[in-house]
Each structure stands twice: as C-alpha cells, then as structure tokens.
C-alpha cells in the first residue's frame, strides 16, 4: 500500500512543528525519517497514525485520506509503534498482542478463535511465543519491542509506522528489531515508515531516507545520495566520511568531529 503525504502541516498547542511536508512511500518500501532532536519526526508520524490531526494537507493510503476514514477502518490498514509504551497495568504479553485485533472486532472485543490464531502467529513470527504468559511489564526493552511489533502484525495492517523503534535497545536488539521489520516488509508487502536516530542503521535498513530539519524536509532519496558530508554538516552539525560497507555495500558514515558552527542555524 502506497503512502502519499502532501503539503502536510501539523500544529501542537498552537505551534506549527511540521511545515508543508510532501513524502511518498511506495508499496513494500522501507522509508526512513532522520533528523536531529526536535526536527519534527515524531510529530509527523503521530499525524500519520492519527494521534494528531493535520493543520493542513493530507495523508493518503492508496489515495484514501486517513483522517477522513473511520478510526477502526484506518487501524485495519495502518499499525504503529508509538514511542511511549509505558503503562501501569500489568497485561500479559498475550493480552497486549490481542489488542491488535481490536480494530477487527465489534462490541466488547471478545477474541474469536481466528483472532487468537492470528495473535499466535504474530508472536511466533517475532520469535516471542515463549513470552505469551509473561507480564508485559516484566520484559526487557528488546522483548517489549518485539511484543509490540507482534501486536502491530496482529493488526494485519498494510502499512507500519515506527517511531524510533530502536530506542533504549542494545546493538544486537536494534539489529534484530530492524531485521523483523524488514522481514515483515518483504513477506507481507508491508510499507514501512520509520523514524530512526542512528544514521548508519537508517542507511543500512531503509530504501529511501527523508531528512527533516526544523519541521521541513531538506533532502530525500536513496541513503547514499542523501547522507552527503555537506548535508551532515549543515543539518546535524557533524563532519563525516561516507564509505561503503565492505560486504553489503550499504552506505555507512564515519564521524570525525563536530563541524564548525554554521551561521545562524
């Protein structure tokens, strides 16, 4: 399923945090959103998964405006892993994953046998079936993230939106989470839009990158074309060398030191 974001502006508490964004993610592609802290990545994504309404512009899935859709219908097409995942309520892993079936259910949301089968498959797919009976709050960060990906998969969406899914994870967990996302992408034709902090991870896992600064898109395209030393100096304030990974050929960055401060930025 194709994502088309057109002229999107988003305001939070009267402040315009995202300006005139136009972004396109083709079906089955992994599109990354990178940018310094406060550049508007989360705000943009929150608007895509309908936690915020746009001040202007549209988010379309195969041409259908997500903000004009019924909320449940939207959640059947698009699943999200928001950044906040804190709760005081000690749900089991199975209960958390079962929440993914909510947009497919009526009434009190009693899970059918078919729902339970979907949830089991989703947990197995992320290699977390052994966690089903555990309390969600007792899991490690990496386990939690896997369970939340299982919940998103249980939603049986066509589009997956991830807000910094590798936060607070160690490097093995980071690679594992992104491998799962990539796997879901190829096996289910999922379209993925993800914000990522780590530029090397983004370069390794994304087909295309959009770079945000001050709420605007300043560059877009394949990682090698986007992550130029000039852009890294201007947007992130760092000096870096751009190299190819000796095996995969993916672009990787070697950071030197902070760039000389550029005027008025």
């Amino acid at each position: 399923m194709r994502i088309d974001i057109a002229d999107l502006s988003v305001e939070v508490a009267g402040n315009r945090l995202v300006h005139d964004i136009t972004l396109r993610a083709g079906s089955g592609r992994v599109v990354g959103l990178v940018g310094p802290n406060g550049s508007g990545k989360s705000t943009l994504l929150r608007c895509v998964y309908r936690a915020l309404r746009p001040a202007a512009g549209t988010v379309r899935l195969d041409g259908a405006d997500v903000h004009a859709m019924d909320a449940r219908e939207g959640a059947r097409l698009l699943a999200a892993l928001p950044q906040e995942a804190s709760t005081e309520f000690d749900f089991t892993v199975a209960e958390v994953v079962a929440m993914g079936r909510l947009p497919h259910q009526r009434g009190s949301g009693r899970a059918s046998a078919a729902d339970l089968a979907v949830c089991e498959r989703a947990l197995a797919r992320v290699g977390a079936d052994h966690l089903a009976g555990r309390g969600f709050l007792s899991l490690s960060g990496g386990e939690k993230q896997r369970v939340l990906i299982a919940r998103a998969l249980a939603q049986e969406p066509r589009v997956l939106v991830l807000d910094e899914p590798t936060n607070h994870l160690d490097i093995a967990q980071q690679l594992e989470v992104l491998a799962l996302v990539r796997e879901g992408c190829t096996s289910r034709r999922l379209t993925v839009l993800t914000a990522l902090h780590d530029l090397n991870l983004a370069a390794m896992h994304c087909d295309e990158l959009y770079v945000l600064a001050h709420g605007r898109i300043v560059a877009a395209g394949p990682p090698y074309d986007v992550l130029t030393p000039k852009l890294l100096a201007e947007v992130f304030g760092v000096r870096a060398h751009r190299v190819r990974h000796p095996e995969s050929g993916a672009v990787q960055l070697l950071f030197d030191r902070l760039a000389a401060p550029t005027a008025a930025s």
Partner: protein, 364 residues
C-alpha cells in the same frame, strides 16, 4: 514480597512475578453465590433479634405477597422495609463504586485514582446536600437528589481534571494532590452547609455525607441507583477492549483505532453519573473504588473484560459485609460505613503507593 530480590533471572530491575490468572466464569459463579449468601446475612443479622425462621417467612411474604399476623408487623418491617433494601443498596453501591473505580483508573491511567481520592464523591455530596438542606432543584421531584449529585460530580471531575492537567498531560502526582485538595474543599462546603442549615441532626448528617452511610436506605433509594449502575456496567463491559487500549496510552489507542478523547469524555460522564447516583443514596464512601479494582487485578489480571466481570461482584460482597459490620459492631450505635472502608482502605492505599510500578512520577 516487597523486599528486593537478588535473582537476575529477568533483565530490568526487580521484575514482578508473572501475573496470576484465575478462570473468570467459575469465579463469577462463585462470587454470585457468595453475594446471595451475603445478602441473606445482611437481611438476617442485625441489632434487633429476628430469628432466621422469621426472616425467611417475612422474605417469603414480601416476595409472594403473603399475609402475616399483626403481632409480627414490627419484625416484618425490620426485615422487609429496612434490612432488605439496605442490603440490596449496599450491593448496588459496592458494585457501582468498584466499576467506576476501574473506569476512572483507566481514564487517568493511574492505579491510585478513584472517585473518592479524586474528590469527585465529596463534590457530589455537595450537590446532594444542597437538595436535601436547601431544597435546590425542587422542580425535579424525586430526581432532584440524583441529578444534583450527578451535575456536581461532573463539575468536580472537570475541576480536578482541569487543575491537574499540564501541557504534557496528567501526571499522577498532580492528580492525586489536586484530588486531595478538592476533597478538603468540598468536605468543608458540605460541613458548612450542614451546620448552617440548623437542623437537629446536623452533626450526624455531616458525618453521613463525608464518610458515607446506608442508614437512610429504603426501597425508594434502590431504583435510580440500580439503574445507573446497571447501565454504566453494561456500557463499560462493551467498552472493555477500548479501555485496554486506553490503558496502554493515548498514542497506542489512536494506533489501534480508538478515539482516546471521545472515550475519555464517555468515561467522564459515566463516572459522574454513577458517582452522583451512588453518593445521593449513600454519601461519599471511600476506598472501595480504589481497593476492589486492585484486588481484582491481582486475581484475574489487567484485561478489562475480566476485571469488569469480577470487580462489581467483589465490591458488592465487600460493601454488604462492611455495612453489616457497621450496624452490629457498636450496636445500637451505627458506624458510618466509610470508617470501616477507611480502616481497610488506608493501609491498602499506602501499600499500593509503595509498590514498584505505582511510584509517583513513574509514568510521568
């Protein structure tokens, strides 16, 4: 249980044990049977000695419209007009407070919240008092008390919510502090109203509103409260899936197709309606809405479908017994129910607060 363990079995700090889950249908059946037995005890036991044989005969007479001899009228009145409606009302109030405790905790995503802790119950008591003492809303007849309690509960809730809210949402600390402040404010207003109304039983009446009591119960108190509680419970059970999503946070709720804002507004109205209806007949009974949801979660886990099936029954049983104790402990003097719920509830609150996961600011 609260001590630190040195087993690094699970990553993270002091991971809680895996949640326990009792099967819900047998538990509901068992609690239903216990509730019936408790109601019978509530009707059969009391300060005035009425034998079980008489109790059974009078209940039968009342239910089937049979006849009784004139010398038994006093005992019949005690059983049918006083104890029976009182026991039923205790069950209704207990169920209502527990269900609303669950709803409010999901609403504010904080397990330390209930209508009493947040000052909503004492807000409703102000409205009920205005009707009883000053005849406010007289045009509404028998509905005046409940409507006034509902409206003032709604206002109290909006006030707590607005005062505790920050740009970053509700923090548990602000919420509980605001609620406590509101509780004192509304209690002061109620006390002032009772004492300026200049009636004989003023002091006792203030006690009843501030601590809760079912001593005024009669059959006329039952229908509105029961209808409000039943309607609210039905609505909450139908919303159980959405409540689960809301408990995971607004962002997650949105991603799951749940309009968190709309659900919050619904819960607001439901909580205010039940609090109003319950406070109108029993005053501000504390801690039931706090304790019962917690005990329920310990038994059946956090899934709202399970919690909402069990918590109202548990609350009903609890309040029937607490009310019975309040009548017989110091008989013929009657204790306010709230004294006994506080005796159980305050230690419970402190324990909950100290437990990992319920620390102030932990989720903020």
């Amino acid at each position: 249980m609260a001590t630190t363990t040195a087993h690094p079995t699970t990553p993270g700090t002091g991971a809680p044990p895996p949640p326990r889950r009792l099967p819900v249908p047998p538990l509901v059946a068992a609690l239903g049977a216990v509730l019936l037995g408790s109601l019978l005890c509530g009707i059969g036991l009391g300060a005035a000695g009425v034998s079980w044989a008489q109790v059974v005969r009078h209940l039968g007479a009342g239910l089937t419209g049979g006849t009784i001899s004139p010398d038994e009228v006093a005992a019949y009145t005690i059983v049918w007009e006083l104890r029976f409606p009182r026991a039923v009302l205790a069950a209704v109030v207990g169920a209502g407070l527990s269900a609303i405790g669950v709803a409010v905790q999901a609403l504010v995503r904080n397990a330390l919240a209930d209508p009493f802790v947040l000052g909503i119950s004492s807000g409703a008591a102000v409205g009920a008092n205005a009707v009883l003492l000053f005849g406010a809303l007289g045009a509404l007849g028998i509905w005046a008390l409940s409507v006034s309690a509902f409206v003032s509960a709604l206002l109290a809730m909006a006030l707590v919510y607005a005062a505790a809210r920050t740009a970053h949402g509700l923090t548990p600390l602000r919420l509980v502090l605001t609620g406590t402040a509101m509780y004192y404010g509304f209690s002061a207003i109620t006390t002032l109203m009772v004492f300026t109304a200049d009636r004989g039983e003023a002091a006792r009446s203030a006690m009843m509103w501030l601590l809760g009591s079912l001593s005024g119960a009669g059959w006329s108190s039952v229908p509105i409260a029961a209808a409000a509680v039943a309607a609210a419970l039905a609505h909450l059970l139908l919303s159980a899936g959405r409540l689960n999503a809301l408990a995971m946070g607004d962002e997650t709720a949105a991603a799951l197709g749940v309009d968190a804002g709309r659900l919050r507004r619904e819960l607001f109205v439901v909580a205010a309606a039940v609090t109003g209806a319950v406070v109108a007949v029993s005053g501000a009974i504390g801690f039931v809405g706090l304790m019962v949801p917690h005990v329920t979660r310990m038994l059946v886990g956090a899934d709202h479908r399970r919690v909402l099936a069990v918590a109202p029954l548990l609350g009903a049983v609890l309040l029937v017994w607490v009310d019975l104790l309040s009548r017989v402990l110091l008989a013929p003097v009657e204790l306010p129910v709230g004294v006994l719920t506080a005796v159980i509830g305050v230690p419970c609150f402190v324990l909950l607060m100290r437990r990992r996961g319920y620390t102030f600011g932990g989720g903020a």
